[in-house]
């Protein structure tokens, strides 16, 4: 049952959020998203990413400005069960006595009567959602007995079971293996192609150009918002992260001419680990390593 009236959109207009202790977490934040988009919310810790999430879900009321979802208030959108939320792994009590099936079924609660008795449809949707994230074999497991990636997939299945049209994911790639990351990304792409709006809060910069169409850069306000190609520039990122971003300047490192284009760069968004042509470990600074540079040159010369 999709509403016929206004097309799906999220409109954040001049939102200012202040907490009871007087701290202004977000000032005059504005951006707009249309249907069928994966948007990254990028910023350092404490930049107001989660505040913006909470404002979009209606958990905190802005002192100024408004959030509209498909032209309606957040409360109305929530009553329509349109917003699904995938929490950060740190926010979940993994020792809680519930199993995978129970958690995914929680996504259906909004659709059930007040006794929360699941219908055949609810069960079918839960089974489908588990299948879609490849967790059907684990439905009897207590949630604490899963790996980091499996845990994430369970909560993704819960969001799928909710059948919302907007999905908010908080740091979905933290503590997750590569297979799960790929599963998540291809799932999100499929949802986007169905017209969903997907908002991903992340500080994992490398993954952003891979799968996000839009980027919203946050630092106490919205610094820039728009298509990834336009917004995800070095200038904007420096603005968003200040001096906090780790940099690896190839021209200042121990990497040399003869390494050509075969340099390997490994990173989990911490400091990158760089190997030169012959698998040599490379250092960020040449200074103090002149001996090493000379040795490498000799090797290349022979």
């Amino acid at each position: 049952m999709r509403e016929i009236s206004p097309p799906l959109s999220i409109e954040v207009a001049d939102v200012t959020v202040a907490y009871a202790n007087g701290i202004v977490a977000l000032r005059d934040a504005s951006f707009k998203l249309g249907p069928g988009v994966i948007c990254a919310l990028v910023g350092v810790n404490g930049s107001g990413k989660s505040t913006l999430f909470k404002a979009i879900m209606g958990f905190i009321r802005p002192v100024k400005g408004s959030v509209r979802i498909a032209g309606k208030s957040v409360e109305q959108a929530r009553r329509g069960k349109r917003i699904a939320y995938v929490p950060q792994s740190e926010e979940v009590d993994w020792t809680f006595p519930v199993n995978v099936w129970d958690v995914v079924m929680m996504g259906r609660y909004g659709h059930m009567n007040f006794m929360r008795l699941p219908s055949a449809t609810d069960k079918r949707i839960v089974a489908e959602s588990l299948d879609r994230v490849g967790m059907s074999d684990f439905k009897e497991r207590q949630i604490g007995e899963l790996s980091g990636g499996q845990k994430k997939r369970v909560f993704l299945a819960r969001a799928l079971a909710q059948r919302g049209s907007i999905m908010l994911l908080d740091e979905p790639f933290t503590g997750v293996d590569v297979t799960t990351e790929e599963t998540i990304i291809s799932l999100l792409r499929a949802l986007r192609d169905d017209g969903h709006i997907i908002l991903v809060s992340t500080h994992n910069l490398g993954s952003v150009p891979e799968f996000c169409d839009h980027v919203v850069l946050v630092n106490r306000t919205v610094l820039a918002a728009g298509p990834t190609d336009d917004v995800f520039t070095e200038k904007n990122l420096t603005l968003a992260f200040g001096g906090v971003l780790r940099q690896f300047h190839f021209e200042q490192s121990t990497i040399q001419e003869h390494d050509g284009r075969t340099v390997k760069l490994l990173t989990d968004d911490e400091r990158p680990l760089v190997f030169g042509k012959d698998g040599h470990l490379e250092y960020k600074d040449r200074e103090g390593r002149e001996k090493l540079v000379k040795e490498r040159e000799k090797e290349a010369g022979k």
Partner: protein, 276 residues
């Protein structure tokens, strides 16, 4: 006097029945409190009911009404002070509930009552009167029915309040429902274990069950079973030692917890040692 002597007295049979009912209600609620991390809240509300009881007594109201009102007052005041200052919740609670408890003690000495302070503080189930018994049964039954009807919503609220809110559940309503249930349970248990020890009834059965299972439905059943058993053992034993029924019940609870801690099949200390 042989082992069956206690059952020849009607007051003993009544005490066994009431304490089993109270044990069951406390056990159900304890599962939620343990999972939500509200043990201190249970302690706080149970102490905070004292001024309400004294006030209700002097006004001729049912004691349960006063207890319920002042228990909720404690929780609401705690919530309000926490959200409008920089002080953390546990600290605020520590101040509010001791303050209310002290107020209750002062009121008690000022207002002439026929009630015994000891009975309020430590329970008096062997000498329970008809009115108190009816109040206890009503408070226990109402609480039990509400928890069982709302058990899934309350569980979701304990597990992931943000998700509950996102799918349109009224989480502030659930917060107050859980608080009211807690206050109701405390009112129900006043007669059996009293204000001071009721927190044990509100925490121990849930903890015992938590050690024995990973499923919530089973946790509820195990908690109820262990709590009813402990309540009956406590009442039975206290007959022979001539008193301190509340303390005997709490000791039996602690004993069952210790057994679960040692002998639990999966999370027990011995099973763990063997696996390591």
């Amino acid at each position: 006097m042989n082992l069956l002597t206690p059952f020849q007295y009607s007051f003993m049979n009544e005490a066994l029945m009431i304490s089993a009912l109270v044990g069951a209600v406390c056990a159900v609620l304890s599962c939620y409190l343990v999972l939500k991390g509200w043990s201190l809240m249970g302690d706080a509300i149970s102490h905070a009911v004292l001024p309400g009881i004294v006030a209700a007594y002097s006004m001729g109201l049912p004691l349960a009404v006063g207890a319920f009102a002042s228990g909720l007052l404690c929780a609401v005041a705690t919530g309000w002070i926490k959200s409008s200052t920089r002080i953390k919740e546990d600290t605020v609670m520590g101040i509010v509930f001791t303050g209310l408890f002290a107020l209750g003690l002062v009121m008690f000495t000022k207002i002439q009552t026929e009630a015994h302070l000891n009975h309020i503080l430590f329970g008096n189930i062997l000498g329970i009167e008809r009115d108190d018994m009816i109040q206890t049964i009503i408070a226990a039954s109402v609480t039990l029915v509400v928890v069982l009807v709302m058990r899934k919503d309350l569980l979701l609220f304990c597990f992931d309040a943000a998700h509950a809110r996102a799918i349109g559940l009224n989480t502030s309503m659930l917060y107050y429902v859980l608080l009211s249930l807690l206050a109701g349970t405390i009112v129900a248990s006043l007669q059996s274990v009293g204000i001071i020890l009721v927190v044990a009834m509100l925490v121990t059965p849930g903890c015992t069950a938590r050690l024995l299972t990973d499923r919530f439905d089973r946790m509820l059943l195990i908690a109820v079973a262990s709590s009813v058993l402990a309540s009956c053992i406590g009442v039975y034993v206290s007959f022979f030692i001539n008193g301190a029924t509340g303390a005997c019940i709490v000791l039996a609870q602690a004993l069952l917890f210790a057994l679960a801690l040692l002998l639990g099949p999966k999370h027990g200390l011995i099973a763990r040692r063997f696996r390591a």
